[in-house]
Symmetry: none
Subunit: 216 residues, 4 copies
DNA sequence: TATGAATGAGGGTTCATTCAT
DNA sequence: AATGAATGAACCCTCATTCAT
């Protein structure tokens, strides 16, 4: 309601910056490169953002709003049990990653660059990351209550494992050339199953047996 | 006795650069910051390295030599079956990650910054990463032949999944404050079990459905 | 009205650079010295030139355009015989040398510094120098056809001698304190007569022996 | 008598520096380049010279001693009339230029770079140049007394013209590819005749006639 | 005498930011 | 809002010189 005017240029700057930051990092990207890629003058960038750092901030906000809030929204709307909700979460995450490859990746790329800065931006990144972890922890906690994942599972640790896995998945996809759509599906399913197995009720079968008995 | 002279300063520069690159990225770290942290003059850095980029190169070489070659060595020395070898690999990787936190992390930090550069350094990074992937693929291939992991498992894909998972694990550890040693063990075990389950023989239980019958 | 904008600063940089290069050579002059002499910030130089080398390039272009093209123009406009044309050329050259002392001298100063560089700038200098030589050769060739200079005169060699003489004249003027206007005229006349005598028709008197019968 | 010890290295440094200064100028040549070309360590240069500037000084001394003193010597030893002495001078100069191409050229190259410096070295260069001019002036003055060159010839001006011409000759040879030995001889003779004609007794024939009457 | 690691001033260049138009 | 010339700090790197060995 408030911000309504024509934000075409502003959005263009953000969209372009994501691409550039992804390719060359935050420090490695200059304002003039952004402005040229957008097709405006250097000074014009400063009509829309106070500083280069503010562009980064807006990207983080965009990530938090579109990805994180989106995931939370999607999951809250789902009324099923833990497994259903988890699958919704997983589907949302991987599909978002597929459709907003750059936004997801720039997040991880910048993490490495920004964390340790002790800047305001670092604080923001840590806060977003924390919100993500806690949301996932809550989801798992629910699964525990429903008896769908092992009681002795540490939900915080597993939240982290899941994030780690998803993070790593994206990075590897980025380094190696992007997989085909079919490969993509195989990956995603394999990841999901691996994650779920890691948390499943021990009664179903002993991990130990499965692993150790292989040596006849 | 060959070329051995006192490389103290050189090593210092590398060690310090790792820390600085980790904290601020490659572009974000200036040569004068490195020199000050080492306690030498700016010019002295150039007595030991031709350029800032060459420091980075040396770090990558160090990573490749210490971590990758170390892992390959360790595994080749092990004469057991796939599972034993895989555990050796896993142990080596996680322990190396624990003991050389910075070296491992700087690798991943710089990956995000460098990939896309189309620089010589990028080529080097991709080559190292490729060597790692192929090594792991070979390991899994062996497991397949021994009948210890499912015949239908795509070893390349799973090599990538494993790397992704380990990568992500490290990154998350870094973003969140470092876990205690005990947490560490739980993580590592959980990760390893998850990975192995994802690949185990389908006959034993029903992973099969999840992994193999992707296309209904 | 085409691209005309205010090139005051750009021109100032060139004018100042000529003086500085003349005094201290190209390598010996720093960009900050130029900027300070112009009265602008160091960075501003780079708003007008891509690099220090580009300033040099512009000076060469200026030299080629103002001096060389000017000479060619002046001579082509003259419809007289060889002697008339040669005198026009000589007058133009010496007057240009008198009125654009610095531009002429910086050319020669930089020649010594740049030649041997195997840089792009060297190529440019050689090309300009070559154009100058060929133009003069053409002029002499005309004189030969008109029968006003000896048939056996090698026009290329004499073109070079003339250039050498003019070049040396300028350099000596610079090293020794600049001569008065009256001395100037004596110089110029003496030079011109010496040059013309060296090429005149052998029949008239015995230069022939000196020039032609080189091999007894 | 005084300096007797083995100056091989010192001489090597000077010889090498001449080549390097010629190719890249004084400022453009670094001490390490010289040392590498000589095949010694950088520090060793400072065992033989106090500074880079001192190398230049030694080159100038060498030029003054070998070329200038040599010319003066040669001419004083000759007992003939002006024309004979002048020819001796000219022969010596051009042959020295042919045989010590680099030493001669580096002198002219460095002139442009150093003059204007207001350094001690500049003073030295001006002094050498002045000594050269005065020597030549004396030679011409003798010719005047012997009645072999025109009474109204200004010997200082003509000394300058001669130097200028020789200087220019060298530079042009340097810029254009070096002439063959035969071409060389033609040049040299043409130069000498041109110079001598410019100074000859007016009684022999009127310059004016020769030049002006060409237009019938 | 010879070495080469160490120094730090200074060079060319980039770039975020400002501001008059 | 849009522009781009201007700024000056900061960056990477070079180099003359010193000095302990």
């Amino acid at each position: 309601m408030t911000k309504k005017r024509d934000d075409t240029v502003r959005d263009s700057i953000i969209e372009t910056s994501i691409k550039q930051f992804l390719a060359k990092g935050f420090v490695g990207t200059s304002v003039i490169e952004i402005s040229r890629a957008v097709g405006i003058a250097k000074g014009t960038v400063y009509c829309h953002f106070e500083s280069k750092e503010q562009i980064l901030d807006s990207i983080l906000d965009k990530y938090a709003k579109e990805f994180l809030d989106g995931a939370i929204d999607e999951v809250s709307k789902c009324e099923g049990d833990f497994l259903t909700r988890f699958k919704v979460f997983f589907k949302y995450t991987t599909e978002f990653g597929r459709d907003h490859r750059e936004l997801m990746l720039v997040w991880h790329t910048l993490l490495g660059e920004i964390i340790g800065n002790s800047s305001e931006t670092e604080r923001k990144m840590k806060e977003i990351q924390g919100r993500y972890t806690r949301f996932l922890e809550g989801l798992l906690e629910g699964g525990k209550k429903e008896g769908m994942i092992g009681k002795n599972i540490d939900t915080l640790i597993h939240a982290r494992i899941i994030i780690a896995t998803l993070t790593g998945m994206l990075l590897v996809w980025y380094i190696e050339s992007p997989p085909t759509d079919d490969e993509n599906k195989v990956y995603v399913r394999a990841f999901r199953e691996a994650i779920l197995k890691g948390m499943e009720m021990p009664e179903r079968h002993s991990v130990k047996k499965a692993i150790i008995k292989q040596k006849p």
